[in-house]
């Protein structure tokens, strides 16, 4: 077996595959189960300062090539999340705390708690609505992004991962604003929507949603490649990973670690161990002795 461990922002992962935020990571027992199934770490559901019930169902639609979702940032609020992290930590693997907010203060409050609960890193979900800006997201406002990360960097000791949205004109500008982050996570969902032509209305209760799964793989590859090429920063790749070939494509585009969300739905929880097996035999037959050897080899 080739050696498939990897180190991202100082965190050693037994393999590159983590569970992505928002998929089966609300209940501590589920996270534990996924870690036992082969994920090297889990990223929690994005947690905010206060409890939110999110949108009414339908919050998800199955579409060819993936999923559309508009969960609406449902979460128990950080103060109610300690026990879930505690249960998940029983698996003895890193837990990454995904957090969101509308202001630097929100991020700081939630991030501090996550750190106390034992998270190995914070993943900043910058895709929630901007409280001041109307209609836009935090992650499309470079100044706000810079402020949030600057603030956290001063007061949080664990590594900061900035998760960027592909729904921007110039992702490089946002990456620059987020340059104090220790790594980038690319990508969040792509804006999308589905209409039921017999019901004559949008399927999701929120109408608009985010596209994930195979349909967005080539979008994710694009941004990982571009950000790797332009910034050289460590990257966690996510978006449509379903096979070991997908995983390798992300790694060669520049990702040091990966996350899987929709793949758990399309392939089941066995996806982690399956991809790891494929990864290892690919590396053996292609002469790569470590994940690091493959990172970014396709970048020109």
């Amino acid at each position: 077996m080739a050696n498939i461990d990897t180190i991202i922002t100082g965190i050693r992962l037994a393999n590159p595959l983590m569970l992505a935020s928002g998929i089966l990571d609300e209940n501590g027992y589920t996270m534990k189960k996924i870690l036992e199934a082969g994920a090297s770490a889990v990223v929690t559901k994005s947690i905010g300062r206060v409890e939110r019930t999110g949108y009414r169902p339908p919050i998800i639609a199955e579409i060819p090539g993936g999923l559309l979702n508009a969960v609406g940032l449902a979460n128990p609020g950080i103060d109610n999340f300690d026990h879930e992290v505690e249960i998940a930590l029983q698996a003895g693997k890193p837990i990454i705390g995904s957090i969101f907010g509308g202001t630097p203060d929100d991020f700081l409050y939630v991030g501090k708690k996550m750190e106390q609960y034992g998270a190995s890193a914070l993943e900043l979900n910058l895709s929630c609505p901007h409280v001041l800006g109307v209609g836009s997201e935090v992650g499309s406002d470079p100044e706000l992004v810079e402020e949030i990360i600057g603030e956290l960097k001063k007061k949080i000791k664990i590594p900061l991962w900035a998760k960027l949205s592909p729904n921007v004109t110039d992702i490089l500008k946002i990456a620059e604003a987020a340059q104090k982050a220790d790594a980038f996570v690319l990508i969040n969902t792509v804006r999308g929507m589905a209409i039921d032509i017999y019901a004559r209305r949008p399927v999701l209760s929120n109408a608009y949603g985010g596209l994930s799964g195979r349909a967005i793989k080539n979008v994710g590859i694009r941004y990982v490649y571009q950000i790797r090429k332009e910034t050289g920063k460590p990257i966690i790749g996510v978006g449509g990973i379903e096979t070991h070939e997908d995983a390798i494509e992300y790694i060669m585009a520049g990702a040091t670690a990966l996350e899987i969300g929709t793949g758990v739905y399309s392939r089941g929880k066995g996806i982690f161990s399956e991809i790891n097996k494929g990864l290892s035999s690919f590396m053996e037959s292609e002469g790569f002795s470590s994940i690091n050897d493959m990172v970014g080899v396709a970048v020109q």
Binding site: T30, D196, V203, Y265
Partner: protein, 247 residues
């Protein structure tokens, strides 16, 4: 979404209707659909009729289930599925225990040989009691308006469980828990069909999970043996927001 045109609507109790519709799909007892009322909501509903014509049996509760009970023949219904697993099969006699609308998902399991324990809050709400022959029926009501007074488990206590090879149970989780506790040390085996919040139905949102398993994809039916080892069954669940709450 799948859609179909309603063929017939039957009033089963003052608050519960059965809706029958054609759907060319193999489905198994225990499986459910996510039923969508455009503009209102989407909820999990068991298939109470699993033959050529499919059907659901729904009790009026919040906005979505209420909207379902207001549907008429000729209306269109929207749903996705079938989702979930099914009950184990058995050769011997079965004992069917349903609480309230929990009887809906058990309907396809009823045979000539089955004994039923049908429970409800009150007499009027007893669902599908008439599907069992008189001598194979135990009725339980919370208010004692008919049959044994109390919860379903009280009905069980009147029976000799050794007669049955397998028990099928569906109802509120606390009812299931009291039954599990009662049969824990007994010989009889059982399949429990669970109900928890389900937002996605496809194993993604984690809202229905118990012990790291998703009720929507790995359930909703679990054997007695699995529940006996459970950390969360009958104790805690995750609320709509994701907050851990006591049952």
């Amino acid at each position: 979404m799948i859609h179909s045109i309603i063929e017939r609507v039957d009033m089963e109790t003052p608050t519960t209707v059965s809706i029958l519709f054609p759907w060319d799909q193999d489905v198994l007892p225990g499986q459910f659909v996510m039923l969508w009322i455009p503009g209102v909501g989407e909820i999990p509903i068991s298939l109470s009729h699993t033959g050529r014509i499919k059907g659901i049996t729904v009790k009026k509760f919040g906005p979505t289930s209420t909207a379902i009970t207001e549907l008429k023949a000729g209306d269109r219904i929207f749903f996705r599925g079938p989702y979930g697993n099914t009950f184990r099969k058995t050769e011997g006699k079965t004992l069917i225990v349903g609480g309230g609308s929990g009887m809906a998902g058990l309907l396809p399991l009823i045979t000539q040989e089955s004994h039923g324990v049908v429970s409800a809050r009150t007499k009027e709400e007893l669902l599908f009691a008439d599907r069992f022959s008189q001598e194979k029926l135990t009725i339980v009501t919370d208010d004692g308006s008919m049959g044994t007074k109390g919860f379903a488990v009280e009905g069980l206590k009147t029976l000799d469980l050794d007669e049955f090879s397998l028990m099928y149970i569906c109802g509120p989780e606390l009812m299931l828990k009291s039954i599990l506790d009662y049969i824990a040390d007994k010989e009889i085996d059982a399949d429990f069909s669970l109900e928890r919040h389900m937002k996605c139905g496809i194993g993604v949102c984690d809202s229905c999970s118990m012990d790291g398993l998703q009720l929507c994809t790995q359930g909703p039916v679990f054997p007695k043996s699995a529940l006996l080892k459970s950390d969360e069954f009958g104790k805690e669940r995750i609320s709509i927001s994701g907050k851990r709450v006591r049952l």
